[in-house]
C-alpha cells in the first residue's frame, strides 16, 4: 500500500512517542526490580541479604546456632577474600547464577555446594584459622598435608561446622526469616 508523506510523518511521530514511553516504563521497571529484589544489599556482606531467597533459611538458621555467628558472615566463608577483583567477580558470577535459578524456579529440593564454592570455603577456613593449620608451632595435629594442597576438606572431619550435621529441610522447622520490609530480626 502506498503511504502519503503526511501519513508517514504521523507514523514517525507516533513511533517516537511510543519509544520514549516504553523506554521510560522500562527504566522505571528496572529501578523497581533493583529495589524490590534488594539488589544493593548484595554489594555489602550482611547475612540478611542471603535470605532474600527463602530457600536459604535452613542455612541461615544453622549458622545462627553455630559458633561462627559470633564473628563471621555468610560471605566471610562463601566469597573469596584474596583480592577485591576476585571478591566482586565471584559475587557477580555466583549471584547471577543464584538469581537465575531462583527466578526460574530451578532450585533443587536439596541445595548442595558446587565445586567452585567448595574451593572458596576451604580457602576461607584456612584464611581465618591459618595459625592453627599452616606448618608451625600449633600445627602438630594430623591432616595438614592433606588439607593444604591436598584434597581433604576441613569439614570432612569438622562436620557440624557451621550448618550442622542434619542437612536439607529436616534441619530446621519452618522459621520466620526477616521479610522484605523488616529491619528487625526474629
Amino acid at each position: 500500500m502506498i503511504i502519503t508523506k503526511k501519513e508517514r510523518k504521523g507514523i514517525l511521530i507516533i513511533r517516537r512517542y511510543l519509544t520514549v514511553f516504553f523506554s521510560c516504563i522500562a527504566i522505571a521497571l528496572f529501578f523497581l526490580v533493583i529495589s524490590l529484589s534488594n539488589a544493593p544489599s548484595y554489594i555489602k556482606d550482611e547475612p540478611d541479604a542471603c535470605i532474600n531467597c527463602h530457600v536459604m533459611v535452613p542455612q541461615y538458621v544453622s549458622w545462627e546456632k553455630d559458633v561462627h555467628k559470633l564473628g563471621t558472615t555468610c560471605n566471610d566463608c562463601h566469597v573469596p577474600h584474596n583480592s577485591l577483583v576476585d571478591h566482586f567477580w565471584f559475587k557477580i558470577k555466583d549471584g547471577l547464577r543464584h538469581a537465575t535459578v531462583f527466578s526460574l524456579r530451578w532450585e533443587p529440593q536439596v541445595i548442595r555446594i558446587k565445586p567452585a564454592g567448595i574451593r572458596v570455603v576451604q580457602n576461607n577456613c584456612i584464611r581465618c584459622h591459618e595459625k592453627l593449620v599452616k606448618p608451625g608451632i600449633f600445627s602438630m595435629t594430623a591432616g595438614q598435608t592433606g588439607i593444604i594442597g591436598g584434597d581433604r576438606k576441613c569439614w570432612d572431619c569438622h562436620r557440624d561446622v557451621p550448618h550442622g550435621r542434619v542437612q536439607g529441610l529436616a534441619s530446621s522447622s519452618l522459621v520466620r526469616a526477616p521479610g522484605q520490609d523488616s529491619k528487625k530480626k526474629d
Partner: protein, 478 residues
C-alpha cells in the same frame, strides 16, 4: 530523526521493539520477585500444606521405580524364585505372591491376588482400606473380623488414605487399628504415652508388623507377648501351639511370617539412633516456601538426596551401592536358606513315603518349622534385610543351620529306611513346574479369580443411586 540517512531509519524501529521487549521481560522478572517474596510470607503465617500432601499421597500410584531388589514395580516373586512355591506348599502363598505396590493399590491388589477367595475371612481387610476404622467402630472389632471377606467388599472400596493414620478433626497422628493398641496394652504400655517421633513409626506398625488370627473368630493379634525378636515370637507361637498350616509335602506344622518390618527395624542401628519410619520413607519436601511431609511413601532409594543425604554426607551413588551391598549379602543367605529348606521338605516327603514313624519325624518337622519361620521373618520383610542387616544375617544363618540339622536327621532316617541318598529332586525350575508338582490347578484358580473380579468385585465399585447425606457432626468446644 531527519539527521539520519534515509536507509538507516530501520534502526529506530529496532529501538522501539527493544524497548517493548525490555518492558515485557522486566515485567516478568518483577512478577517472579513479587511472587516468591509473597510465597515466603504466606508460608510463615499460615502454611496450608494439605492439597500438596494429598498430591504426594496420590503419587503412590507411580510404579515406575525399580531398584535392584525392590521398588514399586510389580514383581512376581514366585516367577523369580520357584523355590517359594515348594516352601509354601499347601498354603495360599504358593498360588500367588507379588511385591507390594504403593498404598494406592491396596484395595485393587487384595482383590486381584489369587490368595483371596470365598474362604477368606474379613480380618484380611484390616490393613487395606481407609473405611476399616469406621466399620470397626460401627460393628465392633470381633464382628468385623469374623465376617467373610467377600461380605465386606462392597463397604470397603476406598484404599489406604488419610484416616488410616490421622485424626479426622485435628490431623494429629492416630493409631486406628486395635491390634497394635491391644499388643502394647499386653506389654503394659498405653498408646497415648508414645512420643511424636515414636508415633511416626507406630502408624506404620499398625500394618507393617507380624500378626496371626486367633481362634475361631480370626481375631487379629500381634504376637509380641515375649518381645519383638524372631526367637521371642517363635517361643510365643510354640507356647500356644499355633501353626498357620501343615506343609503339604513334609507335613511340618508351619508358621507364616508376615512383613515384620517394624519389629526388624527395631533391631537395626537406625532405630537405635532414634529414627522413625517416616524419616526415611516420608521425608520433608518443599514446594515454594511451604515445607511438608512427602506422603509418596516409597523406597528411599528413589529419593536418596532427601533421605540418606540428610545425615550421611556421601554421594548418592555411594550410598546406593552401600545399600545394594547389604541387600546382596542378605539375598545370598536367603537363597542358601531356601535351597536347604526345599531339600528338607522334599526329603521329609520321601521319608513319609517310605513309612516313617511320627515320633522319629517329630524333631525333623520342628526343625523345619523353626528354620522356615526364621527364613520367612527376613524374607517377608520389605527391603531384603536393609532395615537391620546384621540381625537379618543372623536370623538367616540360624535358618540355614536348623534346616541343615533337619536334613542331617533325615539322612539318618532315610538310611535306616534303606533309601539311597541323595534323594532325587523333582524338576521345579519354573513357577509352572513347581505349582504343578504340588498339585495346584492354576487354570481353575485364575479362572475363578477372573470370574470373581468381573461378577462380584465390579459390583462393589458401583455407587448407590440414592446418596445418603452424612450425619451432622456435633462440634466439640475445645
Amino acid at each position: 530523526m531527519t539527521s539520519l540517512k534515509k536507509n538507516r531509519h530501520w534502526i529506530k524501529w529496532v529501538l522501539l521493539t527493544v524497548a517493548v521487549i525490555a518492558v515485557f521481560l522486566l515485567g516478568m522478572v518483577l512478577s517472579t520477585i513479587i511472587e516468591r517474596r509473597a510465597e515466603s510470607n504466606i508460608a510463615q503465617q499460615d502454611g496450608k500444606p494439605n492439597p500438596r500432601i494429598y498430591e504426594t499421597h496420590d503419587a503412590t500410584e507411580d510404579t515406575s521405580f525399580a531398584s535392584k531388589h525392590g521398588g514399586a514395580v510389580e514383581r512376581d516373586y514366585l516367577e523369580e524364585n520357584p523355590d517359594l512355591v515348594i516352601l509354601w506348599a499347601g498354603y495360599s502363598f504358593s498360588k500367588d505372591y507379588k511385591q507390594g505396590r504403593g498404598h494406592f493399590y491396596a484395595v485393587s491388589d487384595i482383590r486381584s491376588t489369587l490368595r483371596t477367595d470365598a474362604a477368606t475371612v474379613g480380618t484380611c481387610w484390616t490393613c487395606k482400606s481407609t473405611s476399616v476404622p469406621r466399620m470397626m467402630k460401627t460393628m465392633g472389632n470381633s464382628r468385623f473380623y469374623s465376617l467373610k471377606w467377600i461380605a465386606l467388599g462392597s463397604k470397603l472400596t476406598g484404599t489406604i488414605d488419610c484416616l488410616d493414620c490421622h485424626d479426622i478433626r485435628y490431623s494429629e497422628l492416630k493409631v486406628t487399628r486395635p491390634a497394635l493398641v491391644e499388643a502394647f496394652e499386653q506389654q503394659g504400655k498405653e498408646i497415648n504415652d508414645f512420643s511424636y517421633q515414636e508415633m511416626r513409626s507406630l502408624v506404620c506398625a499398625q500394618c507393617h508388623s507380624e500378626y496371626y488370627f486367633k481362634g475361631e473368630k480370626d481375631y487379629l493379634v500381634f504376637p509380641w507377648q515375649n518381645g519383638f525378636s524372631v526367637d521371642e515370637v517363635a517361643d510365643y507361637y510354640d507356647s500356644i501351639d499355633f501353626s498357620d498350616w501343615t506343609h503339604k509335602l513334609s507335613r511340618a506344622p508351619m508358621l507364616k511370617a508376615q512383613h515384620p518390618d517394624y519389629e526388624l527395624f527395631q533391631a537395626g542401628v537406625h532405630a537405635d539412633r532414634g529414627l522413625s519410619c517416616s524419616d526415611c520413607h516420608m521425608p520433608y519436601r518443599s514446594e515454594g516456601a511451604i515445607k511438608f511431609t512427602d506422603h509418596k511413601i516409597q523406597s528411599p532409594l528413589n529419593n536418596i538426596v532427601n533421605t540418606c543425604l540428610v545425615c550421611h554426607p556421601e554421594t548418592e551413588e555411594k550410598l546406593r551401592q552401600n545399600v545394594y551391598e547389604r541387600q546382596d549379602k542378605i539375598a545370598q543367605l536367603k537363597k542358601l536358606a531356601e535351597a536347604t529348606l526345599v531339600k528338607a521338605h522334599i526329603e521329609a516327603k520321601s521319608a513319609w513315603d517310605n513309612r516313617a514313624a511320627e515320633d522319629e519325624m517329630e524333631a525333623v518337622l520342628n526343625l523345619i518349622r523353626q528354620a522356615q519361620w526364621r527364613w520367612d521373618w527376613v524374607g517377608s520383610a520389605n527391603g531384603v534385610g536393609i532395615h537391620a542387616p546384621l540381625e537379618s544375617a543372623r536370623v538367616l544363618a540360624t535358618a540355614i543351620q536348623k534346616a541343615g540339622e533337619a536334613r542331617n536327621l533325615l539322612a539318618v532316617i532315610l538310611t535306616r529306611q534303606g533309601k539311597k541318598l541323595p534323594v532325587q529332586m523333582p524338576d521345579i525350575s519354573t513357577k509352572e513346574k513347581a505349582q504343578k508338582y504340588i498339585g495346584l490347578d492354576m487354570e481353575k484358580l485364575k479362572k475363578d479369580k477372573t470370574d470373581f473380579l468381573k461378577d462380584k468385585a465390579a459390583k462393589w465399585d458401583i455407587k448407590p443411586k440414592k446418596s445418603i447425606p452424612p450425619k451432622p457432626v456435633k462440634k466439640e468446644q475445645k
